[in-house]
């Protein structure tokens, strides 16, 4: 049972890190539907570097770096070129899926390094995740930078005439977003399940993406949602641990996706939009051009 809880926490933190990145990007108005792709890059390159050099630190740094670069590219496409963010995001996922499969397949198999030691019985990423949630919330709600980020996501024209550099801020946010997604991928491949395999992420990035909508763009709700999804995911892997004999693991495995689908459908209803709609950054997904 204790193992089940710690594993659930580990899984939750991967969702948290990736979704937190997406949340930061979205609050600045940039939608990146390719979270899965960024995570795949981070995970695969982090895995290869860690295995080759034998250093976890280098592995994680590589993941953060590659995530940042992809975030920057996505931002450049969306902000500088004013491209369609969904197209770019889908591109990231497709390229990520294909390229990491190609690069990673020679490394198929276990990482073969000593496990990262636990701190107070849980993985250190639990503390990293919670701390980052706290920092993100504080920056967004309590600082001038956060107000600027939120304003850019709500109405970039307003931010512009208030003397804020819209493009620069959005690029910054999306780069940080990519770094967090890359890190999330590496936490999966180096800590949670240190084995490289074909399509090992199995849609975690998409759940993280949905989680952002689910969270109403609030970092604390996001943490709550991530804990919920992480637990459900873990449950789907070994349901017999908690509820012996109830449904097969394959049915349990669909639960996070079903919950996500239902949540997203509910959120797209007029009822929801009139009641809660104000939470969505109004300029989300829209390129900003000076008029």
């Amino acid at each position: 049972m204790l193992e089940f809880i710690t594993r659930s926490l580990d899984a939750s933190m991967i969702f948290t890190l990736a979704a937190l990145g997406e949340l930061i990007g979205q609050r600045s108005g940039i939608l990146n539907v390719g979270v899965e792709g960024v995570m795949l890059f981070g995970a695969t390159l982090g895995f290869i570097v860690a295995q080759t050099t034998g250093s976890y630190v280098l592995g994680f740094l590589t993941a953060v770096l590659i995530g940042g670069i992809i975030g920057l590219l996505h931002a450049a496409f969306s902000v500088v070129l004013g491209g369609d963010q969904v197209v770019s995001g889908m591109g990231i996922w497709i390229v990520g899926f294909g390229l990491t499969t190609y690069i990673g397949s020679p490394y198929t198999g276990p990482l073969g390094m000593e496990r990262i030691p636990a701190v107070l019985g849980v993985s250190p990423f639990f503390f990293v995740g919670v701390l980052l949630v706290l920092i993100t919330w504080f920056v967004l709600q309590k600082t001038s930078l956060g107000l600027a980020i939120r304003s850019v996501g709500e109405n970039p024209a307003v931010a512009e005439v208030s003397g804020i550099k819209v493009a620069r801020l959005r690029i910054l946010c999306e780069t940080v977003a990519g770094m967090l997604m890359g890190l999330a991928g590496a936490v999966y491949a180096l800590n949670y399940n240190p084995v490289w395999n074909y399509n090992f992420l199995m849609g975690w990035g998409f759940i993280a993406l949905a989680l952002v909508f689910f969270s109403m763009w609030n970092p604390w709700f996001l943490l709550g949602g991530a804990l919920l999804f992480g637990t459900m995911w873990q449950l789907s892997l070994n349901p017999e641990m908690v509820l012996p004999g109830v449904l097969s693991r394959y049915i349990w495995r669909t639960v996070p996706f079903i919950v996500t689908s239902i949540a997203l459908v509910l959120m797209s209803t007029p009822w929801f939009r009139t009641r809660w709609g104000a939470a969505r950054p109004q300029a989300l997904g829209l390129p900003y051009e000076k008029d």
């Binding site: 309590k142 107000l147 109405n155």
Partner: protein, 513 residues
């Protein structure tokens, strides 16, 4: 500030020129403004006001010309540069984040807001400004909860808080109620007394220019055509400079004997998109030869009422009778066939299709007529002939009927929409904000056409935020406030002050409803 400083311009622009492909938007514009002065810039749409404003605020860079602040040459690469040189801008389309609070909007981008936001200090400082100039606004309210007048106040406060010495006001009184306009003009004068320089950019409201400004610069086609002291100007002289010809100010109102009722509305209740009741039980009748003016600030249920009448929104309850036929549950097309003519407020998105030619745009109101539709096949040749005729009759400036809708200016597009609606000789014309955003000439044209329709026996429902427009041509005036009529007043008794008060939610006796 010494007398000498006061007589020196705080800002001067010299030879500002800005070209866009195919057009010189600003052509060698000179003007200056002194502290404590109210210097209005007047011009029709397309005269280059917006371009000049954007240059002064650093959104555009001029191709030629210089800007001086206190005699020193400056270059604005972005709004930030302009703000840092003491320029504040109050936009016509408010630049505020609707989901944020008033205070968050005011401190956004302020260099001394603190890395960690110090909203309490900001609140104290802004409160002081409020006391100084007589503003009242709830700092904790979200902007979307505010009225237009309050939003404008927030923009002014934001500019003042950033230390603006020169305040640019874009169409400051559009969308304000008469009461709010009064408040604004008072605070503008209070600001001028404190040596702020104020530059209102105005298209329509000439009386306001005459009332508050010290000097006027008139732009036409990108050039300065007149520069005068306001005390030497009259409404007529300003309009002549703006348009380049004499303008009839008052559209001739024509009295006709009203005929049978055309539109009868009984106890109509309509819901808004957000789920609350936007129209709460209105009843009225419009007869042949009458213009019924609906006066109100936007967002008081006009939109929902019009949509219900046009068949675009299902009413919750009530009855709509058009020309003796109960159309309450009929779809829009049946209503058109019964004699409805609808001129939507949003001429670009609802009134026309930008990628359609004028012929196709005209067909949008004719495609269902047997004359143009033979068993589903459209008679384009005939439609083209009609369009050509309408272009001539309605004076549309266009190279021909095959031009795309989006290539027309707002005024010409409105003429096309007017032409296709009125040429059907509808029994009821719903004209929703028909002259919004049009210049003096086009406005005059639109109003004349509505009067002509009335004289020809149509019933006209005119929705406008411009009280003068309503008072000029309506036979009945119904001020609407939060979904209810505050009364239905015959034109002879509709005094400006009285209607203005009713628009703010009081009945004809001045009792709050």
């Amino acid at each position: 500030m010494t007398q000498e400083e006061k007589s020196q311009p705080v800002l001067s622009a010299r030879g500002i020129t800005k070209r866009f492909p195919g057009v010189v938007a600003n052509d060698g514009i000179d003007f200056d403004i002194r502290p404590g002065e109210i210097h209005a810039i007047l011009g029709e749409n397309g005269a280059g006001k917006t371009t000049l404003m954007n240059i002064l605020f650093g959104l555009y860079q001029p191709d030629e010309g210089e800007i001086y602040i206190h005699g020193e040459k400056v270059e604005f690469k972005s709004p930030l540069d302009a703000i840092e040189h003491g320029i504040g801008m109050v936009h016509q389309h408010r630049k505020l984040v609707e989901a944020h609070t008033v205070l968050e909007n005011i401190v956004l981008g302020h260099p001394h807001a603190g890395t960690i936001l110090n909203l309490r200090r900001a609140e104290q400082e802004v409160r002081k400004l409020c006391e100084e100039y007589g503003f009242k606004v709830d700092f904790r309210a979200k902007v979307w909860q505010l009225s237009e007048g309050e939003k404008q106040m927030v923009e002014i406060l934001k500019a003042l808080y950033r230390g603006a010495k020169i305040l640019i006001l874009d169409e400051p009184t559009s969308a304000l109620t008469p009461v709010e306009t009064r408040l604004l003009l008072d605070s503008v004068q209070a600001m001028a007394k404190k040596d702020l320089a104020i530059v209102p950019f105005i298209t329509h409201k000439l009386p306001i220019v005459l009332e508050i400004s010290d000097r006027v610069t008139v732009l036409r086609k990108g050039k300065v055509v007149a520069r005068l002291e306001t005390r030497h100007a009259t409404e007529k002289s300003l309009a002549r400079e703006m348009v380049g010809r004499d303008v009839l100010f008052r559209v001739e109102r024509q009295e006709v004997e009203p005929g049978k009722p055309v539109l009868e509305v009984e106890d109509l209740v309509v819901q808004s998109d957000k789920g609350f009741l936007a129209v709460e039980g209105v009843s009225f009748t419009i007869r042949e030869g009458e213009i019924f003016g609906l006066a109100g600030v936007s967002g008081n249920g006009q939109q929902e009422l019009v949509e219900a009448l046009a068949g675009l929104r299902k009413p919750v309850s009530g009855r709509i009778v058009l020309d003796g036929v109960d159309v309450t549950h009929l779809p829009p097309l049946e209503r058109w066939k019964t004699g409805l003519g609808y001129i939507p407020a949003d001429r670009i998105h609802m009134g026309s299709i930008g990628d359609f030619t004028l012929v196709e745009n005209v067909l949008l109101n004719y495609y269902f007529d047997q004359e143009y539709n033979r068993g589903g096949i459209l008679d384009y040749r005939k439609a083209r002939q009609m369009t050509e005729q309408l272009i001539e009759e309605f004076n549309v400036a266009t190279p021909g009927p095959d031009v795309l809708g989006r290539n027309l200016s707002g005024g010409n597009l409105q003429k096309v929409i007017l032409a296709r609606v009125l040429s059907r000789r509808p029994r009821l014309v719903i004209a929703d904000l028909p002259s919004q955003g049009l210049d003096v000439g086009a406005t005059e044209f639109v109003r004349n056409k509505l009067v002509e329709a009335k004289v020809n026996g149509a019933a006209v429902l005119l929705i406008s935020e411009d009280l003068d427009e309503i008072l000029d041509i309506s036979d009945w005036v119904a001020p609407i406030y939060e979904g209810r009529f505050m009364g239905i007043v015959p034109a002879a008794e509709a005094e400006r002050e009285k209607i203005g008060v009713m628009m703010a939610g009081y009945n004809a006796e001045g009792v709050a409803q």
